[in-house]
């Protein structure tokens, strides 16, 4: 028995429509079959080591930690254990009709929650539906262009706490925004199941950046669900550094003709971390483009998994879809699995996929060494450069420097563990 019962879901505070929605989801969850590595979607994952009964749902708020970076933003929402603890928003935003805050107090809240997500419900997405405490809504009305990013931070803390952050971003026609979604947690055993819905209306433009800096014993099952309308432009990107086992599933659906999606991720695992990425590029409409680039580094005994599927539906003629996953393995005990896939139901398409796994290239290292750069330093330059290719394309430009520091921190930890070995 777990603590994630229908009664527990019913007991959570909120408006009646949300309580009803949670209860329905909790009933679905009770009937759902837990995932297993025998399922293709969970192959290679650490799901067999996961035990939900070790965790208790928590929506206990407390003060949010101060982030270790500063960003010039137009609005900041902070949640702790999925409960909103603060909302700051520039006056210009409300003057322009932009909404940033609790979804439950927004007029269209009930319609927007789950609007993108409902079709791709997985086990942990349903669990989020059942235990989501306080969904966050960002709504940009048609034609409004935001010049500074909106920041949402989520923190998880408490004894064996399980939290269910939810972020819904709704970009109106021809509107434009950037969103930073930053996830942190304490170091003890914790569970976080975030769900993010990104809906971009015709000709809208959204750059979304998820930065995952969870504690080293946190389990994460994250869903990012994107939908792009006619001529919309959606970037869904992730920079993942933390977690014990952190899984991120990213789905984009290109439903309007001419929609264009970029999916990108950079990740760096060390210690005994597992970083697991599943992607789905679903081309529904004609003349749509999706471009995926995931690059990762694993060191020590860490593991990374990438599996992705490009699907081109029968009506999606003129699709361009690309998928590339490249990995650097720093050490014998690190482990990488990379499986790209295509499923094409229309002939008039241009698709490609590629994946690579290998150590630091000996020729590249020698080139730097031949200029007098010591071996370790040469490797660090190559690794930083390898991830830099993704870093330079991420939305929320002001985060590039903090992310560069996060990569440097991982690399210097690498240097220290090398020192211990030798």
């Amino acid at each position: 028995m777990t603590e994630f019962s229908t009664d527990a879901a019913r007991a959570l505070a909120g408006p009646s429509w949300l309580v009803d929605r949670r209860v329905r989801a909790a009933e679905d969850f009770a009937a759902a079959v837990p995932p297993d590595v025998a399922d293709e979607e969970w192959r290679y994952s650490a799901i067999r080591e996961f035990d939900l009964s070790e965790f208790v749902p928590s929506s206990q708020p407390c003060a949010a930690p101060t982030p270790d970076f500063e960003l010039d933003s137009s609005a900041v929402v902070r949640t702790v254990n999925g409960r909103i603890v603060s909302v700051e928003s520039a006056d210009e935003l409300s003057a322009a009709g932009v909404y940033v805050g609790p979804l439950t107090t927004a007029e269209q809240g009930p319609d927007l929650l789950g609007a993108v997500g409902s079709e791709a419900a997985g086990y942990f997405t349903i669990l989020n539906d059942a235990f989501v405490a306080d969904p966050v809504l960002i709504r940009v009305p048609p034609g409004v262009v935001l010049h500074k990013p909106i920041v949402v931070t989520h923190h998880v803390t408490g004894d064996r706490a399980a939290a269910f952050p939810r972020l819904v971003v709704d970009i109106g026609a021809d509107a434009q925004a950037e969103v930073l979604d930053h996830h942190t947690s304490e170091s003890g055993p914790l569970l976080v199941c975030p769900v993010t819905e990104l809906d971009v209306s015709p000709a809208g433009r959204l750059g979304y950046l998820n930065v995952q800096q969870l504690g080293s014993s946190t389990w994460q099952f994250c869903s990012q669900l994107g939908r792009a309308g006619r001529d919309a432009r959606l970037t869904v990107s992730t920079a993942a550094f933390g977690g014990g086992y952190a899984r991120t599933r990213s789905d984009v659906r290109l439903v309007g003709r001419g929609a264009d999606c970029d999916l990108s991720a950079l990740y760096f695992g060390d210690g005994r971390q597992g970083l697991d990425f599943r992607t789905y590029q679903d081309h529904v409409a004609a003349d749509t483009t999706s471009n995926l680039l995931y690059k990762g580094v694993v060191s020590d005994e860490s593991r990374s998994i990438y599996t992705g599927l490009i699907r081109v539906r029968p009506d999606a003629r003129g699709t361009n879809a690309f998928q590339t996953n490249r990995n650097l393995k720093l050490g014998e005990d690190a482990w990488v699995e990379s499986v790209p896939n295509l499923e094409i139901e229309n002939n008039d398409v241009r698709c490609s996929h590629a994946s690579a796994v290998g150590p630091v290239d000996a020729e590249q290292r020698f080139y730097l060494e031949s200029r007098g750069v010591p071996t370790g330093e040469a490797e660090r330059l190559i690794v930083a450069g390898f991830l830099g290719e993704v870093l330079e394309t991420l939305p929320v430009k002001a985060m590039r420097e903090p992310l560069r520091s996060a990569i440097d921190a991982k690399l210097s930890r690498q240097r220290r563990s090398e020192g211990v070995v030798s």
């Binding site: 020698f366 060494e369 031949s370 200029r371 007098g372 330093e377």
Partner: protein, 275 residues
């Protein structure tokens, strides 16, 4: 005044002995040309001196001011004052020239000096400044890569520079600028230059003091600058008796650094590889 003394250098690549006892000595400010037919071991000499992985030293020595280079890892050889301008400079995605140069001189110079030195050097050889912040050698033409190598030589000011076919891939104007820059380095910074080439066209700007003919894995003849011209006219036929260091049938790793008979894209396409 510095000295580079190579004695009895023997080396193996892919299980095959390519260098069979190379002797060569040079001093600061001197320009030595190493010429020879394809497959004679010219590039192997360059890589063995620089410490490229995959090249196995079988014997001999290479002393830079009394320091045994062959005992040092590649980066320490470079710090000791050896520079290799590569025939096929490696692409290093995500690492800019500026990052590289800052890392290579981190202990001695400060970053500002590097910046200004890079700009001065780029100007001298007509290298577009936009390349300074782009990933190393990525999407550069053959000629731009060679200018990039030359720029690094100018910034790093080594004691000895090995130029492995620096002339290949350069058009006439670029060759003139690059050749003049290296010639100036021999005068301004007393850089000693070991210029490995198949042709003598580099020597219109960079005047060799000494020319060596490398064939069959050994230095077969040493002479003055006039020998380069002579070789241009007569070719390397006279050393055809020397067994080729790289047998054309030998199975070698598919590696462009090996100057095997079929792998040099700048070789005369009509030459008989077995001649």
């Amino acid at each position: 005044m510095s000295e580079l003394v190579i004695e009895g250098l023997r080396a193996r690549v892919g299980g095959q002995e390519i260098l069979k006892g190379v002797d060569l000595a040079m001093a600061s400010g001197e320009v030595h040309a190493v010429m020879g037919p394809n497959g004679s071991g010219k590039s192997t000499l360059a890589h063995v001196l620089a410490g490229r992985p995959g090249f196995e030293v079988l014997g001999g020595s290479a002393l830079l001011d009394g320091v045994e280079l062959l005992d040092l890892p590649a980066w320490e050889r470079a710090q000791a004052g050896l520079f290799l301008a590569m025939q096929y400079p490696t692409e290093v995605p995500g690492v800019a020239l500026a990052d590289l140069l800052r890392a290579s001189v981190s202990s001695s110079d400060n970053a500002d000096e590097i910046e200004s030195s890079m700009r001065v050097e780029a100007e001298r050889i007509g290298f577009d400044e936009k390349f300074l912040t782009r990933p190393l050698n990525v999407d550069l033409s053959g000629g731009e890569k060679k200018r990039n190598e030359t720029l690094q030589l100018g910034v790093l000011r080594p004691r000895f520079a090995i130029l492995d076919e620096l002339d290949s891939g350069l058009d006439f104007d670029a060759l003139r600028l690059v050749g003049a820059r290296v010639e100036a380095a021999t005068e301004e910074d007393s850089v000693g230059v070991l210029a490995i080439t198949h042709y003598s066209r580099l020597f219109e700007q960079l005047r060799p003091d000494t020319v060596h003919v490398l064939a069959g894995g050994r230095i077969q003849q040493t002479g003055g600058a006039e020998l380069a011209q002579e070789l241009e006219d007569t070719g390397y036929e006279r050393w055809s008796d020397a067994p080729p260091a790289v047998a054309s049938s030998a199975k070698l790793p598919a590696d462009p650094v090996l100057d095997g008979p079929f792998s040099d894209p700048f070789a005369d396409p009509f030459a008989d590889p077995l001649a």
